[in-house]
């Protein structure tokens, strides 16, 4: 067989078949001489191979009560990460001193070698052996590899509860120490055994992709919680949105500065008005305000700011304003009011309110307007005058803050989702950075 047949014709070498010395059922050897250990799927006996033609030497029985049926059958072929693999081994692991169980599938390709497919709580990771990174047996909290920053997530020892199929290492080694470092969707796992030190690079895989790769008919195990290397979002992360939102915010600021600089702020009128004395309970009469013309702008509309000032001290003053467009007869009503209170209480001077108020009337069509004023004041009020100024084409800073709020809404929501997601992920770790 040549590589072309594996790569282009998706063919793998025919397996060798050996009778199990214990139960006489067939044991297949897909990896041929590379299999150093083999477990019989029928009688659960585990053997060491003694070399070509020399048979198998029995090592141990696995407890049949701890047997689990592999979801991906031994011998199944599948195209994973564009590599054609055969499933040659399956093992069920348990964390020493803790009731955490996971399954591992040994994958083999005559071109790409060995890989592992691990499943824990319905979350799948595809592992490949790497030789371009190692920090030996030392304990590191984090490190960088291939542009990603990996943080220590978990350290534990494992024991094998069940195994069948072919293995190139002795899985009975119960002194194996694992250290998992994550940079979702990637994981780097250090496996420190009695005789060797291995490094694996894992990548999170969606269960549907595993199911499709091996053409599995049955349902995949349901997912529980968040996987150690599960990426936050398969669509758009906060890190993707952040630079776009920052760029948009810069454009927004630039536009606002341009609008502020180009605003004409034309004062159309500024006038002081005297209020007549009225009897108790008698309303103040309405007054004729200014008449002004709004200049034509590029889009035919512009903003108008009214600035009211009244000498209020421990009382209030209100002004109803009606704008009447002389051409369309359309009316625009609004109210303004000022109130100012001050005093001395418990040894401290205090004050609240203001004698001024500004109001912006937006998108007013060009044209000539009459203004009718209706003042209101408290009975026995000392307020007997007020000043009203009208300014056309003023910059509206509230628009900038509203637009900025709208721009950062999506990134803010994604950040919050990402934060809670990461916090939940690290709840399963003894090394969580979240308190």
């Amino acid at each position: 067989m040549i590589g072309f047949e594996v790569k282009d014709k998706e063919k793998l070498p025919e397996p060798a078949v050996v009778k199990c010395p214990n139960c006489r059922n067939n044991i297949t050897f897909i990896t041929h001489a590379q299999a150093s250990f083999v477990g019989c799927g029928s009688c659960h006996k585990f053997f060491e191979t003694r070399g070509s033609g020399k048979g198998l030497s029995a090592l141990k029985f696995f407890d049949v009560r701890k047997q689990v049926k592999p979801i991906i059958p031994i011998g199944a072929k599948g195209l994973l990460k564009e590599k054609l693999y055969a499933v040659v081994g399956f093992a069920k692991y348990k964390e020493v001193k803790a009731a955490y169980f996971w399954q591992e599938y040994v994958l083999w390709s005559p071109i790409h070698g060995y890989a592992l497919l691990a499943e824990y709580d319905g979350h799948w990771n595809y592992f490949q052996f790497i030789s371009d990174y190692s920090h030996g047996k030392a304990h590191h909290g984090s490190f960088d590899y291939n542009g990603h920053h990996y943080n220590l997530y978990n350290r534990y020892r494992s024991e094998v509860q069940y195994a069948e199929g072919e293995f190139f290492w002795d899985i009975r080694d119960d002194q194996v120490q694992y250290a998992e470092y994550i940079a979702p969707p990637y994981t780097i796992t250090r496996i420190l055994g009695n005789k060797e030190l291995s490094w694996l690079l894992g990548e999170y895989i969606q269960p549907e992709d595993v199911k499709a790769a091996f053409n599995l008919g049955e349902d995949m195990p349901p997912q529980s919680g968040i996987g150690a290397s599960e990426p936050f979002s398969t669509s758009v992360s906060f890190e993707t949105l952040k630079p776009i939102a920052i760029a948009a915010a810069c454009i927004l600021l630039l536009l606002q500065v341009l609008f502020a600089m180009s605003s004409k702020e034309v004062q159309l009128n500024s006038n002081s008005y005297t209020l007549s004395d009225t009897g108790l309970g008698t309303a103040l009469p309405s007054m004729a305000g200014p008449t002004f013309t709004l200049q034509e702008t590029m889009l035919g509309k512009s903003s108008l700011e009214f600035k009211l000032q009244a000498p209020v001290v421990n009382n209030w003053f209100a002004l109803g304003v009606t704008l009447v467009n002389t051409q369309s007869r359309r009316e625009y009503d609004f109210e303004m009011g000022v109130e100012y209170y001050a005093g001395y209480t418990d040894g401290e001077n205090w004050s609240e309110g203001s004698t001024r108020q500004d109001k912006i009337i937006s998108a007013l069509p060009a044209g000539t307007y009459h203004v009718i004023l209706q003042p209101y004041r408290e009975n026995f009020s000392s307020v007997n005058s007020f000043t009203l100024a009208v300014v056309q084409d003023v910059p509206i800073w509230s628009n900038f803050w509203v637009a900025l709020g709208l721009l950062i809404t999506f990134p803010a929501v994604q950040w919050f989702r990402s934060y809670t997601f990461e916090k939940r992920r690290w709840m399963n770790s003894d090394f969580t950075p979240y308190t």
């Binding site: 758009v236 889009l299 609004f334 303004m336 084409d393």
Partner: protein, 63 residues
């Protein structure tokens, strides 16, 4: 011809264009995005007494 996929990112970019576009429109027309301070736009005026005269209601809140 590659099939166009309407992703979340595309949606976000369109949303940004919409927000910035409306901001430019509001800036050029003097429109307040939060809404106006004016309370009535009915040309005939909303409040009239039994004689058909215009009645203004005082709404300014004070202490």
């Amino acid at each position: 011809m590659p099939k166009f996929k309407f992703s979340f990112l595309t949606f976000f970019l369109l949303y940004l264009v919409l927000v910035l576009g409306y901001f430019v429109y509001a800036g050029m027309t003097g429109t307040r995005m939060l809404g106006d301070d004016t309370e009535q736009f009915d040309p005939s005026g909303p409040d009239r007494d039994s004689g058909g005269r215009r009645v203004r209601t005082h709404r300014f809140y004070h202490k």
